[in-house]
Amino acid sequence: MSLDLLVKEVCCGNNERAVEVAQGVLRTTAPARIVEALTWGMRSLGDRFDKREIFIPELLVASEAMGAVMGVVEPHLRQEGKEGARTTCVIGTVAGDMHEIGKNLVAMFLRASGHQVIDLGCDVKPELFLEVAEQERAHVIGCSSLMTTSRMEQRHLIDLLVRKGVREKYRVIVGGAAVGDRWAKQIGADAYLPDAFAAAQYMNELAAGRSV
């Protein structure tokens, strides 16, 4: 049982085998080192996705496997006090938009990286984003828009936060095929994150107290 084998099984989306290997590797390797190796593996997947060597289905199964392995590794991280500061993110696709593949990938990657994610699904009104963020004491609100017809809802969310006097409480990250850096700046979002890897990196930096 080796770290390389674990990374391979996760990247191939072999859930059961990956969990089995993870349990073996935990006997000889520090959990933080395991997470570091898996993160590197997922980043490599991201590179392969960018080169179109793999596609969304392969990312989805790898994310599932990553989540399964993190379910085994995380308790060991907590025991060692190496869990790290977790951030809580409320995520959803905006009102009027039913696309969710990218948003689901982001949720999976964030959970796999140890963050708490409350996924509100699709067609989420700004008021619900805020309500749940308040209830869960979230740090970040992530809203996805895959259509130009729906992206105004991201602006509406930020306007709502301003109106309620809570804009400074939350980082607002936006994503989806309908948006980009320019749009994010235009509406006053904190960041545009193009994919699940960027989202995980952002949240990791935030959790570590580094400037993002």
Partner: protein, 338 residues
């Protein structure tokens, strides 16, 4: 030539008087009249009136049915959110349990399908042979994804391919039935939508195995019935244009992510290209910017004809009237020598 003659001439590979314009529209016409998507979902009259009124006002070449509202998936058991078109609950949570409940859809009885067909009949009655009437349907794979959930079916393609194939066989039968009903109701063109088939989502191999292979069956069936077919894939399809051309449809509807010049170079005059102004530009650009991009589209994809100017994907409901007008003007002002 009138609009109908212009579009049919181009789809038949002949030279029209000018570039036809078919904007990809759903509730955009209704929004120009102050109506919401919810209002046209519940009123055939409002939908038909808005479609025809705007087609006359701007003089583009088509009217569209009430499209892309997940009507087929709803008819087969997926539950949509109240007064909305997004899916609240997918019909197939468990293959063993839920596939047994599936029955071939009845376009004349199930869900909102009869309302859509009524809309097409009325549009054909009004438009006659002046404007083309476009009827919309989901590809078998799209339908399967809205029965199972897009994420889950993509995972199933890798983990449970036999289950997906079985579901796709069923969806192919359903869409052949529905496509025929669209044609019989009066649709001049059947526009098949396949949002997950691009290189942004899946490999070429998966695209063929799970999507295009089944779409080809439906297309063959409808072509034998005399239908004109356009095929739309959202996203970047540059790496699989050859496969899409292999469907032998009458028009390929290209999203803005594809370079039209590349598409034309690769496909030659094999198929009519339809596209591909960025909907984002139609929403937030100026009429001048829209006009300039349309000119480029015509130069790149339609210099020698066999081209219909369109948006790359659905036009946002809030797109300004003058921007869609600029697109129509670009087509109108590009005459072909005959």
């Amino acid at each position: 030539m009138n609009s109908y003659e212009r579009v049919m001439t181009v789809l038949n590979g002949e030279t029209a008087d000018r570039v036809p314009v078919i904007p990809l529209i759903r509730e955009w016409p209704a929004r120009q009249l102050g109506w919401s998507l919810g209002e046209v979902l519940s009123s055939v009259e409002k939908h038909v009136f808005s479609q025809y009124h705007l087609a006359l006002e701007l003089d583009y070449d088509c009217v569209y049915d009430l499209n892309a509202i997940n009507a087929e998936a709803e008819a087969l058991g997926s539950v949509l959110k109240d007064n909305d078109i997004s899916v609240a609950r997918y019909a197939i949570e468990d293959y063993d349990r839920d596939c047994k409940r599936l029955r071939l859809l009845d376009p004349f009885r199930d869900g909102r399908l009869p309302m859509i067909l009524e809309g097409i009949r009325r549009l054909k009655e009004i438009a006659g042979f002046q404007k083309v009437v476009v009827g919309y349907m989901q590809s078998p794979f799209r339908l399967a994804s809205m029965l199972r959930g897009p994420n889950r079916i993509l995972v199933d393609c890798l983990r449970q391919p036999d289950r997906v194939s079985g579901l796709l066989d069923f969806c192919t039968h359903c869409q052949a039935l529905y496509g025929m009903a669209l044609v019989r109701a009066g649709a001049d063109i059947v526009d098949i939508s396949d949002p997950l088939a691009s290189g942004d989502v899946m490999s070429r191999e998966m695209c063929y195995e799970f999507s295009l292979r089944h779409s080809a069956t439906v297309i063959g069936f409808l072509k034998r019935a005399g239908a004109m077919i356009s095929y739309h894939v959202c996203g970047d399809t540059t790496d699989r244009l050859d496969m899409l051309a292999g469907l032998e449809v009458d028009a390929l509807s290209i999203d803005h992510k594809v370079d039209l010049k590349v598409a034309r170079e690769r496909l030659g005059d094999r198929v009519c290209l339809l596209g591909n102004v960025d909907p984002e530009l139609l929403l937030s650009g100026s009429p001048e910017e829209v006009g300039a991009v349309c000119q480029r589209c015509i130069e790149d994809g339609g210099r020698d004809g066999h081209f219909i100017l369109s948006s790359g994907c659905l036009i946002p409901a809030d797109a300004p009237l003058e921007n869609v007008g600029a697109m129509v003007d670009a087509g109108r002002n590009h005459a072909y020598r005959t």
